[in-house]
Amino acid sequence: MNLHQTLPGLHLKNPIMPASGCFGFGKEFAQFYNLSDLGAVIMKAATGEKRFGNGTPRVAETSSGMLNAIGLQNPGVDSIIKNEVPFLQEYDMPIMANVAGSTVEEYVQVAEKISHHVNALELNISCPNVKEGGVQFGTDPLLAEEVTRKVVEASVVPVYVKLSPNVTDIVSMAKAVQAGGAHGLTMINTLTGMRIDPATRKPIISNHTGGLSGAAIKPIAIRMIYQVYREIDLPIIGMGGIETAEDVIEFLLAGASAVAIGSANFKNPIICKEIIDELPVTLKKFGFQSLKGAIGGAHHETSRAGVFRA
């Protein structure tokens, strides 16, 4: 089955890519399989300067998921361009850069620099784990629109905006970034959560709160993608709790044009490759003739045929 998918800036040989922050810059996973097998790679967040991130512990286990508060640790955009991108460029798949910052200026600066070296940007206005910047851009439609507009202007490649699920109204956030000129959406980032250790009586995560990811949040991701797909005509890269090829189909039916796999890479470092191999079989099992036939299928209750988008 043809798994090919074309999205703004991205020619994907299949719709599967690792999610930002869960795959580093690819090196560690290259020992397990050929990264060229991936639809694309989304790199770990880049900020203007190098960041050390939060104190440890930075992760905690939850039921069917995990909390993380890495705090955007990264070597800074210049070092990423110099030391990390070249490694990924040796493989045959598009690269997305995840762009983070504390101010609009920082977002613009990072986008400007890194967009020359990658195929698309993922604008991260939804990281719940840093004090300044990050998530407030992702929860206030006006700020979201503004930062999107400036980053779109600064970037030489298409910009996907990564939405935060920590909002009352995901559709109005999606509309705001669409108004700002976004070429696509990625959703969802993590939900802000906390765990407290009864033994120490303190939050387990040093940052107190962390972002909840994993299978636990999948129903929320599906719901948000379903809602946004109905209202906004932008391609969606879906994520949140994907662990199997069936999960991928659930995301496609909800309206995602491609998907990213995050924390599941920690359980099984070969998960992306395994899902890529299984996807055609599973699509066939459920009677789909093509990848695109599944996209948005849940919105068309009377017909068995999906609609095409991007």
Binding site: G21, C22, F23, G24, K27, E28, F29, Q31, F32, K44, K50, F52, G53, T56, P57, R58, V59, A60, E61, T62, S63, S64, G65, M66, N68, I70, Q73, G214, S263, N265, F266, K267, N268, P269, I270
Partner: protein, 253 residues
């Protein structure tokens, strides 16, 4: 590194709430240094893998021995695994004690509690290389002590317990006066508070410490397990740059 469903060859309680788990599989052949660890998926019920040090290796029979203590839900669930069952293991991970790169004739090994296991394979490898091994092993009490006989077979052993039920009553560092002059390098693994005490008492002596931190990926990709370092880079990842570090490389907090 690989992901493998390894077969349980042996699984038994060897001290209070402490278990020996012997696993067989191809991964054993990949182990390069004492001090490396494996990352175990206990079951689908537990989202994250659990890091456990490799305590011994039998290359011929392709088995590795892990010793683990029940500390929470995951290790508790692990105790229910039976011989012949298979376990999902990722490994071997990380950098161990760099015994082939350093020049030591007389080694001091200092282990605390569940930090003792990786030192056993280290002791064996050192002894094989003709290094004189002295060990200080600290436990909470006699019933929680393990591997003491095995270390005896490889050199001098001093034991301490918090409650004095075995060996000296007190801390591992209490015994440093007794081992003075009997080592040129030290190797230590245990709780962070012990690592701090050991390194600060032995400044000036070349030393290697094995550290712990909560992990996400266990392979270097997620930056969950960082520790501040004394250089421009500013950090090390315990899962892949460590868990063993030169004592001067990292900042203990």
């Amino acid at each position: 590194m690989r992901r493998e469903w390894m077969t349980i060859i042996e699984h038994q309680e060897i001290a209070r709430q402490t278990y020996r788990l012997v696993l067989k599989g191809e991964m054993v052949g990949d182990v390069s240094e004492p001090g490396q660890f494996v990352h175990i998926q206990v079951s689908k019920e537990y989202y994250l893998r659990r890091p456990v040090s490799i305590s011994n290796i039998d290359m011929e029979n392709k088995t590795m021995t892990l010793l683990y203590k029940v500390m929470g839900k995951g290790t508790d669930a692990m105790t229910e695994k039976k011989v012949a069952e298979k376990v999902d293991v990722l490994g071997p991970g990380g950098q161990g004690f760099p015994i082939d790169k350093i020049n030591t004739k007389k080694a001091l090994l200092v282990g605390g509690g569940i930090g003792v296991p990786p030192l056993y394979y280290l002791a064996k490898q050192l002894e094989k290389k003709g290094v004189q091994v002295t060990s200080i092993l600290g436990f909470q009490s006699a019933e929680q002590a393990f591997l003491t006989d095995e270390f005896e077979a490889l050199g001098d052993v001093y034991v301490t317990t918090n409650d004095g039920t075995l060996g000296h009553q007190g801390l591992v560092t209490d015994l440093f006066p007794y081992v003075k002059g009997s080592f040129d390098t030290y190797f230590t693994c245990g709780p962070t508070v012990m690592l701090k005490a050991v390194t600060s008492e032995l400044t000036g002596v070349p030393g290697y410490i094995s550290m712990e931190e909560r992990m996400g990926c266990g392979i270097g990709a997620c930056f969950a397990c960082v520790v501040p370092s004394n250089d421009e880079k500013g950090y090390r990842r315990i899962c892949c740059d460590g868990p063993v570090f030169d004592a001067k490389e990292v900042v203990l907090s």
